[in-house]
Symmetry: C3
Subunit: 306 residues, 3 copies
């Protein structure tokens, strides 16, 4: 085996070429996954965050009198970037054999999706206001609305999920999921863009929460860290591949509290209105409204060492 200089000048060419070949085999067509998609989506998220919460995320703003101008600039930037990337995704899906960069139908569809998304923003922001109220009322440690705005990771996660959910409803592929996984990385909260979540939602402490694609959550629901709203199992098709798109995750009705580490599974499982699910409970069947569900485990075994 030679020295480093030698390796860099000769072998590295062969190794690189092997790596490129594996990459090419993996993505059989030239997908959207093209260069920089992830970075562009991150940029869109940052513009949306600064547009929706200028007092938290807008670092360029010195003078509050110009707040309208800054918000508009951010939303316009997000709209333009999003429009470009949605158009690419649609062109990509439109006709895999000959991607027409000038496809008018795709451009029109992308414009329509982008505009519908942008028009939904005030509604999303209004709902986020209810989430902030829910955090304040639901956490004795929260000393002010400002503290929640400036420090609660949950707020970033739910902001991004509610935005991603609007794109999901518009049947924009790929981008919503990149958005929620950005939030997951930053907060430890994994909410699929497909999950439908009502107003006044709050997750205290947040880390480790998983909310699956086909969950339906009512208004005024509070979760604690480590809660899973997941799938029980999933169907395989005749080729042994998972069947996609089936309702696999539970329904949580209004005014439910779910304590830390509880796991609720299955697409036909419904937690009735006003119920409380205790910490670490494992639940795979429906419970009626106003249920109180606790682990029926025997007492801990306590012994005292001498």
């Amino acid at each position: 085996m030679g020295n480093m200089k030698n390796w860099l000048e000769t072998r590295s060419k062969e190794i690189s070429s092997q790596v490129v070949d594996i990459n090419k085999k993996e993505l059989t067509d030239e997908g959207i996954s093209g260069f920089g998609t992830k970075l562009r989506v991150t940029d869109i998220i940052k513009n949306l965050e600064a547009g929706l919460f200028p007092t938290i995320y807008e670092k360029d703003l010195d003078n509050k009198e110009f707040i309208n101008i800054y918000v508009r600039k951010r939303l316009n930037m997000a709209a333009m970037e999003l429009n470009g990337i949605i158009r690419e995704v649609f062109i990509n899906m439109c006709d895999k054999s000959k991607k027409d960069e000038n496809c008018d139908k795709c451009t029109k569809k992308a414009d329509e999706a982008t505009i519908k998304f942008m028009e939904s923003i005030p509604k999303v922001r209004e709902i986020l206001s209810t989430d902030i109220v829910a955090a304040y009322n639901g956490d004795p440690a929260a000393m002010s609305i400002e503290e929640i705005l400036l420090s609660y990771p949950y707020l970033e996660a739910i902001t991004i999920q509610r935005l991603a959910h609007e794109l999901f409803l518009l049947e924009v592929p790929l981008i919503p999921r990149i958005m929620t996984e950005y939030a997951h990385a930053r907060t430890g909260i994994d909410i699929h863009p497909g999950a439908k979540i009502g107003k006044y939602f709050f997750i205290d402490h947040a880390t480790g929460v998983v909310i699956g694609e086909t969950c339906v959550i009512g208004d005024n629901v509070k979760l604690y860290q480590g809660v899973t709203l997941g799938a029980k199992s999933f169907e395989l098709d005749d080729d042994g591949n998972p069947v996609k798109g089936v309702k696999r995750h539970p329904n949580i009705e209004d005014n439910v509290i779910i304590y830390s580490g509880a796991t609720i599974l299955g697409g036909t499982t419904t937690v009735g209105e006003g119920s409380i699910i205790g910490g670490s409970v494992w639940l795979t069947t429906s419970v009626p409204k106003n249920s109180r569900v606790y682990n029926n485990t025997p007492d801990n075994l306590i012994e005292v060492a001498k």
Copy 2:
């Protein structure tokens, strides 16, 4: 529905204005949450980290002979930034109706808090040295002190919490919590700045640990991932809002080990000195010193498929 250009030139103004209105409703007074607070606190944290652990965080330092100069520069930068932001917070609290940017009382109070905080730094750094020893002694996978300094996320979390706790004791609002949530985002460890934590503290693997505001933890305590030291429930006042500031989280005495996923709840719950709490235990009452607490669950149900 028009095209993108049209939307950007016309509708976006209306949408932005709606978003601004919602923001204005949310923060009824002009709070500290003003522009860039989060970024400024992040900057303070980075200067404090580089000051406390120059060999890990000081990227500008080429020559170890200048280490004193670099540390002092970092600490002075942190002190100045912190002083500025504490002053703003105090002015903000001082008289909401007419914020006097030149309030002498506020300036004096801010100077006092900043100086007391900066004077506490060698003590904090000394305690962090004990935490590093605890990590080395408590983890067979730790091969050197350097490995702990350079790679253990727990160390960043406890560094930031111990610093935030000093500000919390000085009754500086908002900033301590932004600090610990910065650590939470980076490490998955959520320790409230109010928690009082003794020397030689270690959290192995770390992700998902939650330690509440009014916890009191003794010396030489070791936790594993996913441990919650939380609140059992909380009081509501006559308006149905949570009563803030009540003792809600447990006391953990010296030399206690708590294994992964255990949950210990309640302000009057005390885990006596030298106790061991097993993995996934759910504990809401006190146990005497030297207790061994394990789940008394029956054996797992094991069957073998044919």
Copy 3:
């Protein structure tokens, strides 16, 4: 107590000097932990990621025709940086009393380790292709390979662990652990570089998973969030320090599924081929192949409030 200006000009010198003294006591010899190691390792990771997955991480690439050139550039940069840092680590270990910056033996050893590592990259990348297939087949929510490449945090964690594992096998200290803790911070998945993991590995949702140093995992294994593959306890030597390097973590054979929150502990615990371990199971003994292990807890206690 004086004012801020006074503190900055006088006391800060004393405080800084105290902090430096504590740092010096902590690292008794001049370790590798020197300035910027962490940043350099981060840089190496970024170059390796862009080399292995150019379509995801290569932000500079505009034209896919140049993909080979970009990949080679990234791999060469990683190789050079890694070579430099490995050489430092080896010099550091070689003779603590007089570190010879020109030690030929160390240079040769570093070249050898670096080249062996770089030569392993196509093999690692090939295995990562199997992991991507496992994610697609194992998650009904995954709509395309692109979605996995662009959004699954698990993919970043396993990429970094598989690379770090190669360095671990080459007995390069410190750097592998910094690498996996970088992944841990970004994904909430804590896999020690020592863990030996087979092909077609997948972790769904990912946050809170802990896989210990001496785990051995077969092919086609699927984990869910919050799973711990950990140590039962560990031996102390005569001085009360943990004995390092003992087999402490379980063996998971081929085709095993472990559901969320399960905990499997101990170096002699083996989960036999084809077994399924249910959610939240606590397992500290071996189970034969094709076992189905579920919690035998009584039903939840459900009551309905009036």
